[in-house]
């Protein structure tokens, strides 16, 4: 090892040049970085929710619609000439935009595109509810009455009280990367309409909007947070070192590590997900520790002038530090790599690239700092400066020895409260809940869900296993039964299927007699109705409900929420019904898809991954500690503060009501990985002190004196770094920031207060 260090110090310029080249190379890769906002891409490719979504889009077209709601709170709601003219205008405008697919009825649903199916004495009439803007009161009243009688679109297109109406339009299939532009375009149009000063209020939501806004927020967040965290680091470094090199060198290390990491992600084709936007902050906050350790040690040795030559001194620093630095990096890395136990690509990527970034930070610290220090002019004399928190550290050493019982009692109480909290822990992968409650998107979504059937899609695809299978009366009736069962749930706003339309046609062809509002009596009749419809309506009016061979049916469900527990409960309650009505042994196949289902599967995977990655990280870190310290007992003790901190983390979530989501799910393994460093530093030092023959009390005080500072600095950086996330525009980031910050505080307290007490309990055995 020393030879390698020697070589680094002999060729400092070459080392710097190499580092610079690597950085330029990485930076050049960064232009390939792309942002992934598609929620389905957060699922592994083998997940049924992912596969079914593809199948759904292939068979029935995408159900991800952009939704615009118009609400008029005045008397009579939107049933007035002005509002209806706006409906017509906006519909025409949407139809003309190249960003939208407007080939079939279900591509653009609005009050002015939907069709009324009506029976007359001798025929069937299929015509638009609105053929142009109605001009007279009577025409408007007629429109209102027809909407109500037809029923299928009530609450779906027009709210039952007539106060509002919606537009649902399908973006072109290949425009996902343009969702933000599409949103801006629609926003501008809506603003123009609002500027005319009518009483209509417009709200825009739907999955394309949500994904588009994510796509805008994510890079903006990264750009915005970088300077904040840099400023924080500069401040902390200045307080610690008060020299230009002490501030700038560590910053250079972490910036380089960040660029290398992002370059690696780009080169490997890993996209940026919402959670991986936090990686740069993470690397800045964690990566800085090694550089700080290095510089502190170097300065100490320089102060005591222990080595005659700068090169010898630097070799000594490197030699002393490489092992503990490697150890802490390995344990932290193990914490992050344990995220590989999750099936979800964003979490896996987060773990892998965090580990990669940490490795880079270590490598760059060991290369850049010695090389740079070799080249920079040597300072004649280093002043000894009393570290900033010396008073506190001294106080700490004495206090913990004085009040062991109180400390134990405090942590015991904390543990109890936390365990109680864990029992209340919830999971929620909702897409909408990722926005803060005051965010315009979330407000619009809430408004639309209040007035209409809901903005979250849930889809059932039922394969009858044979051509023309869906025309069978029994099958059609079961579709209706399933819809009725679904609609019992108050969070299900509406469902629609081909069976409903066939019922309506049956009624229409029997002189609109409500008694005939039932599914056709025979398969042939159903086929003939559909043929009949194809003469009056457009054939693709139903392409979203069934396949051309009449084999596969699709029930489209609108839900008022995408909260995990609602969807999970609904799916659970329907399982027995679908098994009964569409039995597998008779060739039926029932598949779920849509945003609601994606959220459901995401949640399951978050929980599974959570448990697995926690188990893996605890085990891995425990084994590493055992190997490092060589004693089972010490390894066990090393695990106590982090385990406690992680327990408190989940307890807090349960108690405060923060659900596990794709971001907060990261906290456990992250806290473990970062927090265990404190324990390792502390134990390492304590171990050395006691090997040197000091008593328990002396050891504790000395340990605090020497590593207490470094741990405190680390805590400040990590807590400060993650608190920056409190300014995030996205809710999960904010929550994750607060949680990690709080957990690191607990971890610090557990290390510096609880540890000495525990070590005191077993002082006879632990003394080596």
């Amino acid at each position: 090892m020393k030879q390698i260090f020697n070589r680094v110090l002999t060729h400092p310029k070459s080392v710097l040049l190499l580092l610079l080249l690597a950085t330029v190379l990485a930076a050049s890769q960064m232009r390939h970085i792309y942002i992934e906002t598609d929620m389905d891409a957060m699922l592994p490719k083998h997940s049924d929710a992912y596969i079914n979504k593809q199948v759904l889009e292939e068979r029935f077209g995408s159900t991800d619609m952009l939704i615009i709601g118009v609400i008029n709170d005045e008397e009579g709601g939107i049933y007035n000439k002005r509002s209806l003219a706006l409906v017509q205008e906006l519909t025409d405008w949407l139809a003309e935009q190249p960003h939208f697919r407007t080939l079939a009825l279900n591509d653009l649903l609005s009050l002015s595109t939907i069709k009324d199916i009506r029976g007359s004495e001798n025929g069937l009439d299929v015509e638009k509810f609105m053929d142009g803007v109605p001009q007279t009161e009577a025409e408007i009243e007629h429109l209102k009455q027809r909407m109500h009688e037809f029923g299928l679109y009530e609450d779906v297109i027009v709210s039952a009280d007539g106060s509002g109406t919606i537009f649902a339009v399908r973006p072109m299939p290949d425009t996902r990367h343009q969702y933000a532009e599409v949103y801006d375009l629609v926003k501008a149009k809506v603003k123009e309409l609002e500027a005319r000063g009518g009483s209509e209020q417009f709200y825009i939501s739907g999955r394309p909007v949500i994904e588009g806004v994510f796509g805008v927020y994510m890079p903006a967040e990264m750009k915005r947070m970088q300077p904040i965290i840099m400023a924080l680091l500069l401040l902390l470094l200045y307080l610690s070192f008060r020299t230009p090199r002490g501030v700038l060198l560590p910053i250079a290390v972490v910036l380089m590590a960040e660029i290398w990491m992002l370059g690696t992600m780009a080169a490997l084709g890993a996209p940026i997900y919402t959670v991986t936007t936090m990686l740069p902050i993470l690397i800045l906050a964690i990566g800085i520790a090694d550089a700080v350790h290095f510089l502190s040690r170097e300065r100490l040795l320089a102060h005591y002038q222990a080595y005659a030559h700068r090169k010898e001194r630097l070799i000594e620093v490197m030699h002393e530090l490489w092992k503990p630095m490697l150890m802490t990096s390995v344990t932290t890395g193990a914490g992050f790599l344990s995220m590989l136990a999750s099936d979800l690509p964003p979490i896996r990527d987060f773990g892998v690239f965090a580990a990669v970034g940490i490795a880079y930070a270590l490598l760059i610290t060991m290369l850049l700092l010695p090389a740079a220090l070799m080249l920079l002019p040597e300072k004649k004399q280093h002043d000894e400066r009393r570290p900033l928190f010396s008073g506190y550290v001294e106080w700490l050493g004495r206090t913990v020895l004085r009040y062991p019982r109180r400390i134990m009692a405090f942590f015991a109480a904390l543990l109890l409260i936390s365990v109680a909290g864990i029992l209340k822990l919830d999971v929620n992968a909702s897409l909408v809940d990722q926005f803060k409650p005051g965010d315009p998107v979330r407000k619009a979504d809430r408004m639309l869900n209040r007035h209409f059937s809901g903005t979250t899609s849930l889809d059932v695809m039922i394969d009858t296993g044979r051509e023309n299978g869906l025309l069978e009366p029994v099958f059609l009736q079961h579709l209706i039964d399933l819809q009725q069962e679904l609609e019992k749930d108050p969070m299900v706003g509406d469902s629609s299927s081909i069976a409903e339309f066939l019922q309506t046609m049956n009624q229409a062809l029997h002189a609109d007699d409500p008694a005939w509002k039932r599914v056709p009596d025979s398969s042939d009749l159903a086929a003939q109705y559909l043929l009949l419809y194809s003469f009056s309506g457009a054939p693709d009016d139903f392409e979203t409900f069934m396949t051309g061979d009449y084999r596969q049916a699709h029930i489209r469900i609108n839900m008022k929420t995408d909260e995990t527990k609602v969807v999970a409960a609904l799916l659970e309650s329907l399982k027995s019904k679908t098994d009964l009505w569409f039995p597998k042994e008779k060739g039926f196949k029932v598949e779920w898809a849509g945003t609601g289902f994606t959220v459901h599967r995401l949640s399951e995977m978050i929980i599974d991954g959570q448990v697995a990655s926690l188990a893996v990280s605890i085990l891995a870190i425990f084994l590493l500690c055992w190997w490092m310290f060589g004693r089972l007992l010490i390894a066990t003790i090393a695990m106590i503060p982090v385990s406690l901190a992680v327990t408190v983390n989940y307890g807090m979530m349960g108690n405060i009501g923060i659900p596990l989501d794709i971001a907060t799910a990261l906290t456990g393994a992250m806290a473990l990985g970062i927090g265990v460093d404190f324990a390792i530093h502390y134990l390492h030092r304590y171990h050395e002190e006691s090997v040197a023959g000091r008593s328990y009390e002396e050891s504790v005080i000395n340990t605090n004196r020497s590593v207490g500072h470094a741990i405190l600095f680390n805590t400040f950086v990590v807590v400060g770094g993650f608190l920056v996330l409190l300014s995030a525009a996205l809710y999960p980031q904010m929550k994750l920031g607060a949680l990690i910050a709080a957990t690191m505080v607990i971890c610090y307290l557990a290390t510096c207060y609880l540890f000495p007490v525990l070590l005191g309990l077993g002082r006879e055995k632990i003394r080596v």
Partner: protein
Amino acid sequence: MKNMKKRTTLLILTAAFLLAPPAYGAEPTGLDIMKRVDARDDGDDLIQKMKQRLVDRRGSVREREMISLRKDYGRDNKSITYFLAPSNVRDTALLTWDYDGIEKDDDQWLYLPALKKVRRISSSDRGDYFMGTDFTFEDIKQTPELEDYHWKLTGSDSIDGHDVWVVEGEPRSDELKKNLGYSSTRYYIRKDINMYIRVDFWDRKGQELKHLVSEEIRQIDGIWTAMKGTMTNVQTGHRTELTFSDHHYNSGLSDREFSERMLKRGYRDSSQD
């Protein structure tokens, strides 16, 4: 006999038209050419079998077979179509009285055997798609309503060894564009027989929408007939292939073939007489 005579007259007229084109030198205008297309003889009545193949972008196919009878009444015409396959719509029949111009809506009746009832169906917009095919009601007419378009001859070309006129038709008003669903159309018309063999359509946003290609053009009973027509929607990837066979032109179909009674009775081979 009466039919024979009429047919002969027509043949002579057609021949005269073909053999004595307007003097060269003055190129015809787009409208002139479209008028020739409109005037092309397609018989006074026709019985033909038709096979529809609807192919979606995934390649799955839905097939229908039908037999249809048509008779001209001046510029109006009546037609009746009986479904032969698939079996669940067999004996379904459609009767259409198609009036020239756009002032009067067409009349349509459908007989549903499972319901044993004739139902009148509301007339469709010209831009509405027809029977689940890629053809709109406007497309299935032999020629579009000439007065609704600006016709412009943009040049000549050669398709499969035939010289063609290239004529572009743009609907005259935004209202018409909206109704028809097209912002522009382009016809490729064979110079020798005044029949279009390819049509391109652009949607209201100005994007390429559909292609119609007519193939296997041959003379039957002296009348130029395309045995196959394929309409491909390039946006949806869906296409409709129509194959025609068993043509009988000018067989003197009687008026009662196009009545509600026949609609219910269903198709019998003997109805050809």
